[in-house]
């Protein structure tokens, strides 16, 4: 009897231990999945062309800035960078201007079809962009906004809005309605209560959501490549030119694209969790 109980206890302990190993292995694997490619990107960007093409690779970068310097002097890259920033900034403004009121309404008002509406917002992300890109291009040409920064920003805004709505929805929901009600009893109407109480409280989160919209636009390449010719954004520009470039320049180009996005996402990571209702609870 006693022998049996100790056996059972041992088996239990072993299972728990095994589970722990599986858990740790999964975490390591997931981290490697993200970090290893980034690390290679970093090494190859900071290596001389010879080192990039050699084998085996060194694990410590040589801090050769040749590839990056080449890019800085590459014709057209500054215009592309300017276009990218303009499109992303416009996307940022439009997606917040449209998404934040929707998020507020979702969090504060009861209306029919609210749950369905939330689902539909997410479903817009289920539409593959390549499917839309050609009809959009045709339509843009007819309307006359093809190959413009505004036209591309419109498409990017469509991509960013679901996130803007969901993040702001969770931000507004995190602010007790009593704060607003208290403001109303203290002499505010809906608008002034929003200005004086809600806005200061959600501003950090709104900023984060805006940065996220910026990153979505910054990273987007398909629509940018299809809808622009002269006014290419950095992604579309690099996609077009890197195809025919030597390997070390491809790495450097990739690096230039990835780093700002990474930094931005890192800055707003807390709010991305909030979007799914995990943080701040």
């Amino acid at each position: 009897m006693t022998a049996e109980t100790t056996d059972v206890a041992e088996v239990g302990a072993n299972t728990r231990k095994a589970g722990q190993y599986v858990y740790i292995a999964a975490v390591v694997l997931l981290c490697a999945w993200v970090i290893v490619p980034l690390y290679f990107l970093l090494i190859n960007t900071l290596s001389s062309p010879e080192a990039v093409n050699s084998y085996p690779k060194p694990f410590i970068p040589e801090f050769d800035l040749g590839s990056l310097t080449f890019f800085a002097n590459f014709a057209g890259i500054l215009t592309a960078l300017k276009n990218s920033i303009l499109v992303a900034a416009l996307t940022m403004v439009m997606s917040i201007a449209i998404g934040a009121p929707a998020g507020y309404a979702l969090s504060r008002f009861e209306f029919r079809g609210k749950e369905l509406f939330r689902l539909l917002i997410l479903l817009t992300r289920a539409f593959p962009l390549p499917l839309l890109a050609l009809p959009l291009a045709v339509m843009f040409i007819r309307v006359g906004i093809d190959d413009t920064i505004f036209g591309l920003a419109l498409v990017h805004t469509t991509l960013a809005i679901p996130f803007a709505v969901l993040i702001t929805f969770s931000l507004f929901s995190g602010i007790p309605i009593e704060l607003e009600e208290a403001a109303w009893t203290l002499g505010c109407n809906r608008l002034t209560a929003f200005q004086k109480v809600i806005l200061p409280l959600v501003l950090p989160g709104i900023t984060a959501s805006a940065i996220f919209a910026f990153v979505i636009s910054w990273n987007e390449v398909f629509a940018a490549a299809v809808l622009t010719i002269e006014n290419r954004t950095l992604t579309a520009f690099l996609l077009q030119n890197l195809d025919t470039s030597p390997l070390h320049l491809k790495f450097a180009g990739g690096f230039i694209l990835v780093v700002p996005a990474l930094i931005f996402i890192f800055a707003v990571r807390k709010y991305l969790f909030a979007m799914w209702g995990i943080a701040n609870r």
């Binding site: 007790p176 009593e178 009600e181 208290a182 109303w184 203290l186 002499g187 505010c188 409280l201």
Partner: protein
């Protein structure tokens, strides 16, 4: 400094009727407590007076002016919320001064009034802090100070002390009562805590299922409950009930083997008596003790009288053990009678 009149107010949420035809007049400078269990409609009524909720029917008048179509800011009221609702992005000073700033008062006046009300609530040393740096009790003080600084005609409070711990609640209760009495405002105070209601109110409105069952002074609500619900709700423990049948002569009732003098009525009634109005005697109800709880100041005995639960509060030095049979006599003039059909008091 205003009379509040609530006329035929009803509220429906879809099919659910939260309030039925409420009529209530609250006098100038009166301290009115709305008392009831959760879901009885007391908070809804307060929110209708405040303007955070609109009534489905009826009118609300404050200071001789009809206000039910006005937004909260134009009603001359201010409100203290259950979870304080202190603005986290503002200092205590700016919280208390928030309403005054909205009225565009000059800086020196704002400063004077904020400092005065902060002094009243004993938070003058906290003016530079943010709400995150305050304890629950301090936040509550800020919320009250913010409401008082508006110098409103009417101050509305929605369970303001229910988030505080017991000792602090008792302290704040007395303090709040004093501050409000001095401020000359009419106050409506919502609570589910009957001790709070009894100790603070000029008048208590006991609410049940969307109706006001009784609106009277605390002592009247306690001594002469207008309905069985009030008798079974107020008091800790509440009144005991025993069925009463007519015993021949008019005004004579047979209650658990005893003949008692009561009202004239041609049908069965219920007899009600408070646990503390029972005494050990030679003649009375035969009660078998089931649970004996010594509470220090007195002894609470839960008994059974002819199958009905029956509680008595006795002197703490009484020797009673489980299973003992006690003879409990009701004190003269303390018994009350209710009609089981209407549940209303009969006298």
């Amino acid at each position: 400094m205003a009379v509040i009149e609530i006329k035929n107010v009803a509220k429906r949420f879809g099919d659910y009727q939260a309030l039925h035809d409420i009529n209530l007049t609250i006098d100038d400078q009166e301290f009115m407590v709305l008392l009831g269990a959760s879901g009885c409609g007391k908070s809804t009524l307060l929110r209708i007076i405040c303007g955070l909720e609109t009534a489905s029917e009826g009118e609300v008048w404050i200071g001789g002016k009809r206000v039910d179509h006005l937004p909260p800011k134009d009603r001359g009221i201010s409100m203290v919320f259950q979870n304080y609702a202190v603005f986290p992005h503002l200092t205590v000073f700016e919280n208390i001064g928030f309403g005054l700033r909205m009225q565009k008062l000059p800086n020196d006046q704002v400063k004077r009034r904020v400092e005065r009300t902060a002094g009243l609530m004993h938070i003058d040393q906290l003016l530079k802090r943010y709400s995150g740096e305050l304890s629950g009790g301090q936040r509550q003080r800020v919320a009250v100070a913010r409401a008082l600084a508006m110098e409103p005609d009417v101050i509305l409070m929605d369970e303001p002390l229910s988030n505080l711990d017991a000792l602090l609640r008792m302290e704040m209760r007395a303090e709040l009562k004093g501050v409000l009495a001095e401020s000359n405002t009419t106050a409506i105070y919502v609570t589910h805590d009957q001790v709070e209601a009894m100790s603070m109110a000029d008048r208590i409105s006991v609410m049940h299922e969307g109706k006001i069952v009784q609106a009277a002074s605390p002592i009247e609500v306690y001594r002469d409950p207008a309905a069985e619900f009030v008798a079974g709700f107020i008091g800790n423990p509440p009144m005991n009930f025993l069925p009463a049948t007519p015993a021949g002569a008019a005004g004579q009732w047979s209650v658990a083997g005893q003949t008692l003098h009561g009202p004239n009525a041609g049908k069965d009634l219920k007899f009600a008596i408070r646990p503390e109005d029972l005494t050990l005697a030679d003649q009375g109800f035969q009660a078998r003790a089931k649970v004996v709880e010594p509470l220090g100041a007195h002894l609470l005995v839960t008994c059974e009288v002819e199958g009905h639960q029956f509680r008595a509060i006795l002197d703490s030095e009484t020797q009673v053990r489980m299973g003992d049979t006690l003879t409990l006599a009701p004190q003269d003039g303390r018994g009350r009678w209710f009609d089981p059909a209407t549940t209303l008091a009969v006298s």
